[in-house]
Symmetry: C2
Subunit: 200 residues, 2 copies
C-alpha cells in the first residue's frame, strides 16, 4: 500500500512509519519535516499535498495538538489554533482526501484519552478529541467505495512521558507497541467507524 502519514516525524508518527516501511510505501508529511510539507490548519495546503500525491491507499494523521493551560483564563484565542489544527485539520484531511483515496482505502485519525478522561488544564484538547471521535462515527457511514475510517485514541504514550508526564498525574502509560498496533489494525484490518482506545 501507498500510505501517507501526516505527522510522520512526530513521537507516534515516526514509530508507525518505521513499523509500516517493511511492507508498504510510506510517505511522511509535516509542517517542518517529512517527505512532503503540509499545514493541516490550511485547507489549501491539504489540497496541494493531495494533488501532488494523486492517489494513496491509506491516510493516517498523528499531527495536531491543542491548548493546555489554566481553564480560568483560557479564551477563544487559546482554543482556535487547536480547533483549526487538530480538529478541523483532521476533518479536512478526510473531506478533501476522500477524492484521492483508493477504493477500499482507509483514513486513520487521532483523538485521545482526554475525550473521556480529561486531564486538569486539558479542556481544549478534550473537546477536540470528542469532536474527532464523533466525526469518525459519522464519516464511516458516509464514505463511499468501501473506504473505511477509524480514530486511534491513545492514552499518554510511554515515549511522551518525559515531555508531558507532568500534565497527566496518575495516568497509566500506553505502551507504544500497542498504540502502533491500533494504527496497523485500522490500516490493514477491516474495522470501520471504530474508536480504537489504547488506554486503561
Amino acid at each position: 500500500m501507498k500510505i501517507l502519514i501526516v505527522g510522520g516525524s512526530g513521537t507516534i508518527g515516526r514509530k508507525i512509519a518505521a513499523a509500516l516501511k517493511a511492507k508498504h510505501e510510506v510517505i511522511t508529511a509535516g509542517r517542518n519535516s517529512g517527505d512532503m510539507t503540509v499545514d493541516i490548519s490550511d485547507k489549501n495546503s491539504i489540497v496541494k499535498m493531495f494533488e501532488e500525491l494523486k492517489q494513496i491507499d491509506a491516510c493516517v494523521c498523528t499531527a495536531g495538538t491543542g491548548f493546555y493551560g489554566d481553564y480560568h483564563t483560557m479564551t477563544e484565542e487559546d482554543l482556535m489554533p487547536g480547533i483549526k489544527g487538530k480538529m478541523l485539520g483532521q476533518m479536512n484531511l478526510v473531506l478533501i482526501g476522500k477524492r484521492f483515496i483508493s477504493k477500499e482505502g482507509s483514513f486513520t485519525l487521532t483523538s485521545g484519552i482526554a475525550a473521556e478522561q480529561p486531564a486538569k488544564n486539558g479542556t481544549a484538547v478534550a473537546t477536540i478529541n470528542g469532536a474527532i471521535n464523533s466525526f469518525v462515527l459519522a464519516s464511516a457511514q458516509e464514505l463511499k467505495n468501501d473506504v473505511r475510517i477509524n480514530a486511534v485514541s491513545p492514552g499518554l504514550v510511554e515515549d511522551s512521558f518525559e515531555k508531558y508526564g507532568n500534565l497527566f498525574p496518575g495516568y497509566n502509560l500506553a505502551p507504544m507497541k500497542k498504540v502502533v498496533n491500533a494504527y496497523i489494525l485500522s490500516i490493514e484490518g477491516a474495522v470501520n467507524g471504530k474508536i480504537l482506545k489504547v488506554y486503561s
Copy 2:
C-alpha cells in the same frame, strides 16, 4: 433562582422556560427574540449580555445548530457557522459566564444524539455534539465555587418531528416532557459532569 435560557424562544427552550417560570425568575435570550439579545457566535455579544445580567444562578443554552447536508460536497465553509455557534458559542457561554454565575450555580448545555448515533447528512452536527460532551466532562472538573455543568443530549424531540423528521428516518422520538426534565435535573439537582441522554 434567576435562570438565563439562551435559545429560550426555540422549540425546546420555550418549553423549559414554561416549566421553570412557576418557581424561578426566567430570562430568555436569543438572536432575534427573548428578553435579551445575544449572538453566541460573537464573544463580545456574550460579554455584553452577562455584564447586563450581572449575576445569574443558572445558565441554560438550547441555541445553536450545525450544517445538515451532503457529506460529499460539504466544505469548511459549511462547517464553520456551527463550530462558531453551537460549539464555540456554548463553550464561550461557560468560559465567559463563569465570572457571572452564583456559587452553587449551574450551566446546562445542549449536545444531541448525533454524537453517538449520527444521522445521514449529519456529520457536522455529530462532530459539534461530541465536542460539547467532552467539553462538559472536562469543565466539570475545573469549575470553582461548587458550580456544576451538564449537557442534555436529546434525540429528535417530538415537537420537531414535523420540521425535521425527514432528516432522521427510524429515529425514535424523544418525549418533550423527558427532555425538559433533563434540564430541570441539571438545574435543580446535584448532578455534575453528566451527559443526560434523552433517547433510546
